[in-house]
Symmetry: C3
Subunit: 338 residues, 3 copies
């Protein structure tokens, strides 16, 4: 049987994702013990992590397994990611060997590799992730790539189900926020996919010029249609928030300026009002909409202290859910009871 | 019930510290097995560590638990520590979120954050540690802050009890030593608190200008009084060592020059004779006083090879005791058998 | 009883190595479970690692133990390695204390310390490793030093036995390859010792000026004689490969230019044809010789993609064997069933 990877939520199909979320609920309730005894998950972090690393490490340990954390380019060899490269440069080891070898020491492997901010046409292909997965002999988990952060998407979906109950048709606003740097689109795309998976009334509120990748938008539309939801975009934040039951605050860079940081900065200079504040929150349904964020969040830049420390913020529960969905994912991919 | 933190030895009260030390003795003898099965301790190291990290990692494992080691600013996101900050600078994640989130993945959390060497009036407030603890939902362990290194203090106390037996009234000299850099005062303050806790005859031998923080001195005096010991300061090393049964060698910076490294260096230029040598050691009680140090120690700068490699040095036993007191502390804070 | 270190394969003697390899075979077959419950292995990596670290971490976990990974100079204190040093410089902690203290938290300790590229006369003494071992109270494992990488040598021997069966008298070519940097000689020396241990017909094919250390060559010759094999050197790659059943590709720097990187680079400028290609592979016995490499390998510089991705490359099996020989080694050194 072919190994099964978890690279993007939409690649698993809705039924498999629903089953995973149901398992996560049972795991969180404490109904599933053990299952990963003697199992190893090796994760290569080419970029920083707090939640992903910690939540996976706890997830493995809580079920009897062990996580190996590697940091290529820091404590491990710098990785070359391009096939066919004549390796005379900085890369000391090819991702092909890293993937193959780690799979001999572990039952599943993961990789975090952010976009390098040079050329979206190239980087949107998620080549490092895809090559790593293609060469691995064991299941691969995407720990955030240029295009997707599917474990975050799973946690987002579980959080929405917990907080809203049946979330079909409920208004979910993915709200762009100003930030000092042009961030990747992996999280907003994955959050939108999660909302589409849940059949929500998804509104992407962003200033002109901040559309997500066109192929991602097509994926989101197709999934929303399939799941009985809908998708729209909005350019006026206050209007978009009206009736919202959940607001997912997130910044991302304008793809048209991808790799041109100074131009992108100038383009966003006038957009500081795109920030989650108490007044903005009052526009949500009965003023009671929940506020989500993947974290790390820049306080008083993306979201005000008053919101983050208030009763409508669910960001810590959302972060906790990272651990529970990943426990379910690991049990599903490499669990002993399968 | 309110969660219990371990931020400073004196905040627990003498009885609780005595109980902890008694448990550490039993743990070291091998009389306590397990107790941390399924438990996770997550520690954020904003500064380097060898002993603290290794000894906690072994402590958790030996009793069935697991330690997660994070390095914010290196492999994890750089942390902002000031409440109310408008986060447009280097800090990517606020310590509030780091604390809250880690507590969802772990049963206890720890933080190491040294002073930044700018302004003692601010840094002596230990704000990063205190904020981290205030926002955490689970017990917090101080892994060395600007003001305290209480796990070191516990290990110091256990070592003194082991080596001297009943240590009440015995002469303990906290000896300042020259060092190329102005080091923090957390360790000497914690060592003095440990000696005061044991009711010893505590002498702080340091050159003029090297007094510990006035509030720390008041804490030490109060505790010494309460425990039947006494505290004095001395400016002449050879006199101070006479009759000493334990000499704790340690360097620290002059607080009056805190943040002004060059001025502090000039101020200490003539103080190189403050070094533990074989001749100095002969001044101790019958020439048989034990020599302590928290490590890392700069050989032949703070303490000579001949002393460190001789029979009176107990620095390695002292380091070993870090593990045993921490096993006791973890069992006390999050143990299954509580 | 004196503690037993594993610093160099030849220091254990052939019988002990044979027993270790036999245990590794049984371990790999899954015939040995547990044995390291409650055991800790603490490893200090002064240089980067992917395989060594991951394979030891899995090895410990798979048998019930735990590995602590330290990175002195990065997340742990920078180490001074010279005895007698007056520590006023960069080194914050002496290797003496690091070794002694880690041994109190762990049942075995390891160290990786590459040559610093200054003076071979000094560095060939492997002082950091030897001091670390001399001061440790527990068994020490060499995780690659200036002179030896004995865990790699064990894995090489196991791989040769697996792939060739009885390897006595079979032709093994240690083939120098061009590389942009002058690499250490620890791996080629250890691979040659492994082949000598197996009684193979060992040919070291290298350009003039690339001889291994003379003392290492004497060790290899002596061992080969003892084990019924032989050793020769060759300057023409194509001739050397004729009849080879195994080719171990590896680059290393010219010791005569040790520490003079630019001169060494100029010296090797004309040697780019020393590369493992498909045509070169056809020179091996029936064109079917296996290709080995310790990894990381620079693709299309040391070995072409077509060779690495072809059926004769055993580099991933070889890397996997790192884990199995180390499981055997750890069971032998600190196993509960001893």
């Amino acid at each position: 049987m072919r190994k099964r990877d978890f690279l993007a939520m939409e690649e698993w199909g809705p039924d498999a994702v629903d089953e995973l979320l149901q398992l996560a609920v049972r795991v969180k309730r404490g109904e599933v013990r053990g299952g990963l005894e003697g199992k190893v998950f090796a994760a290569a972090f080419l970029d920083p992590s707090l939640r992903t690393r910690s939540s996976f490490e706890s997830a493995m340990f809580l079920h009897g397994g062990h996580m190996i954390v590697l940091e290529p380019g820091r404590s491990a060899w710098a990785l070359e990611t391009e096939p066919g490269a004549v390796m005379e440069g900085e890369g000391v080891e090819h991702i092909i060997e890293a993937s193959r070898v780690l799979g001999r020491y572990a039952n599943a492997v993961g990789i975090r590799v952010f976009p390098r901010g040079k050329d979206w046409v190239i980087e949107r292909q998620d080549r490092a992730l895809r090559h790593f997965a293609a060469y691995s002999e064991v299941p691969v988990i995407n720990l955030e790539s240029a295009r997707r952060h599917p474990c975050q998407g799973l946690a987002d979906a579980l959080t929405l189900q917990e907080k809203l109950g049946d979330s079909r048709g409920r208004r979910f606003v993915l709200m762009w926020a100003w930030h000092p740097k042009p961030l990747p689109t992996a999280v907003p795309a994955s959050a939108a996919i999660a909302a589409a998976h849940l059949g929500m009334d998804l509104v992407i509120a962003r200033p002109p010029g901040y559309d997500l990748d066109a192929e991602d938008m097509a994926t989101i539309h197709t999934l929303a249609l399939q799941r009985g939801g809908r998708v729209s975009v909005a350019e006026t934040l206050s209007d978009a928030l009206v009736g919202a039951e959940a607001v997912y605050v997130k910044s991302w860079g304008a793809l048209q300026f991808f790799g041109r940081v100074e131009e992108e900065r100038a383009f966003r200079a006038g957009l500081r009002s795109w920030r989650m504040t108490l007044p903005a929150l009052r526009n949500t349904r009965a003023g009671k909409g929940i506020v989500m964020h993947c974290l790390p969040v820049r306080r008083n830049v993306e979201i005000d202290d008053a919101v983050l420390d208030g009763p409508q913020s669910v960001v810590v529960d959302q972060a906790e859910n990272r651990m529970h969905v990943q426990r379910a994912l690991l049990l599903e991919l490499i669990g002993n009871r399968k």
